[in-house]
Structure formats: C-alpha cells, structure tokens
Symmetry: C2
Subunit: 247 residues, 2 copies
C-alpha cells in the first residue's frame, strides 16, 4: 500500500463512497486492472484510501450494480470480462434437435470498410462520412441458419480487424474485440421491433421473402460508456420468445 493517509473527497456534492467508486472506475477504464482479473482486497483498498471498510464496501457495491465488478465470496472481487456472447439467443427459441444449450456458430459473409451513414455515425459518435468496418454475419445452430446480422464498428478503434482472416474469428465477437482491439463490451441497449425479410435476407436464412421477422437493433458500450458497436440482428418471428419480469 502506498498511503495510509486520509484523503476524503475534499470538496464535492457527492458522498464519499460515490467518489471512491469513481476512483475505482477510473482504474478499471484506464486499464490499471484488466477484465477478468481480481482487484485488491476490500481491507487493502480501505486502508489505501484511508477510509472505513464499510465505506469501501459501499463503493464496490455501487460498481457491482453497474456491472463493472463482480464479487465472489471467499475468492475476491473481479473486473467483469464483459457481457456474454450468446445473448441474442435470449430472444429466440429455435428448436434445433433437443439441445437447448447449444451455442450458435458464426460465419462472416462479408467484411468491408464503408463510409458511415449519418444515422450510423451519430450512434457511434463519429463525424458524418468517417469510415466504419461493416460486417455481414450469419449465425447457425447445428448447421441451420437462424440469425442474420449487420454490424458496424468505428474504424480507428477496430482497425486490427480490417482485412484479417474472418475464418479464424471464432463464434463470439466480444472476446475477439477484447483480444484484438482491447475493447471490452460492458453494456448494451437492444431495441426490438417486428418487420419482414427482404428476398435477399430470406435467402440467407432459408426463409421466403416477406417472411415476418424480429429485428433487434443493438448499441453496445465499452467500460467508459463509449458506443463501440451498432448491430442489426434479424430472426424468424415465429421463433421469437422473450420473458421479462416487472416490478
């Protein structure tokens, strides 16, 4: 530990634990503590910041509710490695055999750099006309195509993926983002709508033209809250099923 002194938030309109949470958040977003690894023990952190244990626990609890940290009794507190990869299947019930735990395979049908449309640029926080990496991706369960995705990624950030061999990417994108580009996807916002497939989209999914579909528009954010992905996912409306709890 460096300093056992007592540096409270000095001046703020906020509580001390909120200020401490900001400290911890900074050490995470700045890469001081990497995703998946553990952070120092509560008692250590409390002494380092010259604060009571309970206060430090409140700060940590705040970041846990925000999805940045994860506690494991007896093991430690860990930086979350990002959101799961197969979350899109939460919205669908594809009856592929009996294996409900099956994870979908992924195939990149197309990968190219294009100028961002005004809409895409806005959501990604780019200037109009800046370039993005655009992917067309097909996901399948046991060989059966089920989801068709169009993905836009801001280009200065995702340059390591341009021109790379997509057959080596594996079935999950978010771990790839982290390994190749250092981008940790921490949070996402999905908007669900209903629509119809075009003839082209239907062909890729093995469905007729104008077949009803569910469209999921996703915006994904990294640890610092920056939007790092815009994605449109299409799936058969008849396979759609989503459960939610209301309080």
């Amino acid at each position: 530990m460096q300093n056992t002194a007592a540096p409270p938030p000095k001046v703020e309109g906020q509580s001390r634990y909120a200020w401490l949470a900001g400290m911890l958040r900074a050490r995470i977003t700045e890469g001081d503590w990497v995703p998946g690894a553990s952070i120092p023990a509560e008692t250590t952190l409390a002494k380092e910041h010259g604060v009571a244990l309970g206060t430090m626990r409140q700060a940590i609890a705040l970041l846990v509710t925000q999805g940045l940290l994860e506690r494991q009794h007896g093991r430690g507190t860990f930086v979350r490695a990002g959101i799961g990869g197969a979350t899109m299947l939460r919205f669908f019930r594809f009856r592929a055999g009996k294996d409900l735990s099956a994870s979908p395979t992924s195939e990149i049908l197309r990968s190219r750099s294009v100028k961002a449309s005004a809409a895409v640029a806005t959501t990604l926080g780019l200037q109009a006309g800046e370039e993005v990496l655009e992917l067309l991706r097909l996901r399948s369960l046991q060989g059966e195509p089920c989801l068709l995705e169009t993905i836009q990624l801001p280009l200065p950030l995702f340059a390591p993926l341009v021109g790379s061999d997509t057959s080596q990417w594996g079935d999950l994108l978010y771990p790839l983002f982290q390994q190749r580009c250092g981008v940790t996807v921490n949070r996402a916002e999905d908007v669900l709508r209903f629509g119809q497939l075009t003839k082209e989209q239907g062909r890729r999914l093995g469905l007729p033209a104008e077949h009803p579909c569910v469209q999921v528009e996703r915006r994904a954010f990294d640890l610092s809250g920056r939007c790092v992905e815009r994605r449109i996912t299409l799936g058969d409306a008849h396979a759609f099923q989503y459960t939610l709890n209301i309080h």
Copy 2:
C-alpha cells in the same frame, strides 16, 4: 415498542437480516401494514427486534430490491402500492396524435364465470375445473382500439367483481383489484411471442384477419407470491417496440 430484548434468528442456515426481512414481509402480506402507508422508523424497528441499526437497514434494503418497500429520504419507508397500470404500453408505440403520455381507456366487452381450462388452472394454482372470472377487455387510445385482452382471475378471490357494473371500473384494473378485492399486484411475468390475429380479434382491433400481432402472456403475483391473474394481450405487431438494457 414491545420488547427491546434480543431475539436473533435462533436457528437457521440464513443470515439475521434475511430472517428479519421475512418478519417484515409477513407483517406486510398479513395486512399489518397496508400498501401506501409507512412502516415504523428504522431505529424503532431495530430496537424492537433487538438488533443493530445497520442490520435492520440490510433487511429493509432486501425488501426494497424485491419491490415490497420503498424508501424516501426524510419521509419514511413505505409499503409499495403495487405496479403501475399502463405497463402494457411499454411494448408498443401507437402514434395516436402527438400525445405520447396519453393513458389508454378501457372497455370490458364481456365478463363471465367459466370453468378453468387445465392450463389456466395450473398457472393460477387452482384445481382443474374450478371456476374463474374471465374478462374480454379492449383498450383504446383516443378512441382508437389498440390492445385486446383476455383475462382470467381465480374466483373465490375475485368474487366481488362478478356481476358488478363494468362501466364503473375505470381504466386501470390493478387499483380496482386492490379496492374491491384487497389484492395487491406486486410483480408480474410477461412472455412475448409473435402470432396472427383471428378474424374475430382483427374485427375488434380494426385490423384484417391474419394480421401479424404480438402476444403478451402475463402472470401477475400478489405480495405473498401467489398468482392472481393470467392475461393474454394482443396488439398490432407493427406498433411493437421494446427497449431493454443488458449487463
């Protein structure tokens, strides 16, 4: 206060605050504290149960996350009056004029007692063949029909509604359940699926037969966790839009 003695959970595999939360929960579900009213102050409760303030606060916090209590700084802790009424509109974007805050009106098209089907009896926790109150309900925005609902209510509990004048019910059901039947809806589970309207359903909603629709199957639960309502809501798939956040 009755006893300032110290009755810890005696024997349990659970924590003390979890045990206290169970105590508080019981006093709520048994009607000791009514929805909307405040419960005694934290310090009072802590002394009554012979426990430290922080422990009682943990117990209260647990019930807050479970949606049973609500804290208001400087005012007190209150029993939640149940979930909001217009939650079904969360799933849809009807463009009725420009008024997005408009609350839908409600019309009961039919009200009758029927024997519960096996499926309905199971979800409501009844014996097969027991009677339920079945409602057919149309909700409209500015005179435009938008949602068609079929509702089943377990009958011993909702007997006060049988044969009553449905034109006096108002636009929200859950406040009615509470006033007439003493039922507080605290939690609900919604399952979203995609389907098509029958000719009859389409007629009621002003849409053609086989028009694509979203079906919301709701199960609502009271404070004690009992299922007190089963509801199927149908709405135009083209008006469907739902946003959710993922962590």
